[in-house]
Symmetry: C2
Subunit: 335 residues, 2 copies
Amino acid sequence: MVRTAIIGATGAVGREMLATLERRDFPVGDLRLFASERSAGTLVATRWGEVKVESLDDADPAGVEVALFSAGGDRSRQHAPRFAAAGAVVVDNSSAFRMDPTVPLVVAGVNDDAAKAHHGIIANPNCTTMVLMMGLAPLHRAAGLTEVVATSYQSVSGSGHKGIATLEAEIGHFAADFDALRTGAWEAPPPGYYPRPIGFNVIPFAGGAVAEGYTDEEMKLVNETRKILDAPAILVEPTCVRVPVMVSHGVAATAWFGRPLGVEEAMRLIAAAPGVEVWSDTVPTPLDAAGKDEVLVGRIRPTVGRPGGISLWTVGDNLRKGAALNAVQVAELIL
Amino acid sequence: MVRTAIIGATGAVGREMLATLERRDFPVGDLRLFASERSAGTLVATRWGEVKVESLDDADPAGVEVALFSAGGDRSRQHAPRFAAAGAVVVDNSSAFRMDPTVPLVVAGVNDDAAKAHHGIIANPNCTTMVLMMGLAPLHRAAGLTEVVATSYQSVSGSGHKGIATLEAEIGHFAADFDALRTGAWEAPPPGYYPRPIGFNVIPFAGGAVAEGYTDEEMKLVNETRKILDAPAILVEPTCVRVPVMVSHGVAATAWFGRPLGVEEAMRLIAAAPGVEVWSDTVPTPLDAAGKDEVLVGRIRPTVGRPGGISLWTVGDNLRKGAALNAVQVAELIL
């Protein structure tokens, strides 16, 4: 039995981490839940009895063997090393340690071996990158990915409860006057979580601004793809867009490899990979992926411009494989 | 004064064509409106008096000087040549004649000169292609577009009234149980216009299936881009996705040219083109473009993978510049 902790237990991903431990029969012994001072004292019903949420700031990590972190980058930077120093293996869902060369960045089913080299902390990749990797990694292993243009359709749950609440409120606001949406005479809703309304809209700017006109979400797609596939020369052109969907991130990708890759081979390679379903009769959508462990891949087709490449669509539940499921799978790998 | 006809006058684009003639003070003399037998007899209030809708099948085109067609490809193929033979110049919004080498395919402000070579019919490009061209054509003229990966975010009004009604109904259906959207326990709505639900979803398959796993919408992006820019060697990788937005199509594009193109030059070139606004402080969204004549371009940034290219986002009202506005602008060009 494994003494297990969830840090950020009351957030959208933290709650999914708990549900994932339960669903997968993770061998939990002595479950501890941590959150901010504000949530401390909350009682959470779990399969292993009722657990009182502890304040992270006061946390004594002694005895914890596996710590699943999803409390934001600042809290991970502050507390994950404490947990690791106390003997826990930390699986961190934030971006804090992902590009640290001493920290493995692991997509379970893609680069499991990398987990072995950990020094107490293993990073869980960005949710959008994770979904893309599930489709591209099998092709990379066979043919060597050289270049990919990746364009995302990211759901509001990727921004946590605030994103979900904003979409719910704005849908209600705009649904009162559909005509105004068509004529452009819409009234602005009360300010929400995003820089522009997301209800009946898309925002071609997911994440915060970093260098050269890119967002942090976009640069994660570049840098994490290279690290996960252990191929620093891969050329990645990212565009990250928020869409009015509750759960599941989709990515449209056009990719080229070290050799021409045919559609039949690509379909066979992806279908043979763990945790992926290839859909060819019906096109897989975010609604289809919501609540599923598997990442769905569809529209696998040859490039029509520069020959020899593959275009495809991949979509996965950002709270499951994109976050909580992968974190638990990584914990299972190191047990 | 110009004897003007709108064919398909009761559809979403046809009604916008009428509004555009009114808004732009088009010199209409003797306005005639045509639609299917079902709509014939309807009275439509216009700036030029009340007009009774005539049945297209019985139409006598004698005397019509400009005919704006938006009644679908089959009706265009059947009736546009009749109107042209009777002396009208037809501007056709369907795909029927777009790739006919004897028919100009014109984006007003991009390739106006091509309109001169018409033989009675001028084709209006696909709405998504049109929006993309407004951003890319100024760069092409300066640096020679060689390759573009284009990924769309297309609104439901691109499918006409049925698309709009489906989104409205499905938003109501799903909004009754937001939790089910997050867990995947959602109940399927009654069948709508699209192969999958569009409410709180995206469908990475816009249009109908054609060859090699592509949709007709995608192949329009390939073929019409080449024809409009008069550059048949341009490599285009298209992905067309329907999103739960009422009006305006967005396109995320990553493009390379015959020489490296810098961001400052790209911004200057696009800003100097007619009918386009470059937004750099705020990101332009579909809601911002709805009800506007201008196509909005934002997120102009250097490629981060293969050097020397430009990534950008372009969004425009698919009923205006994407359809009715361009058709009327083309009619203005040939007057």
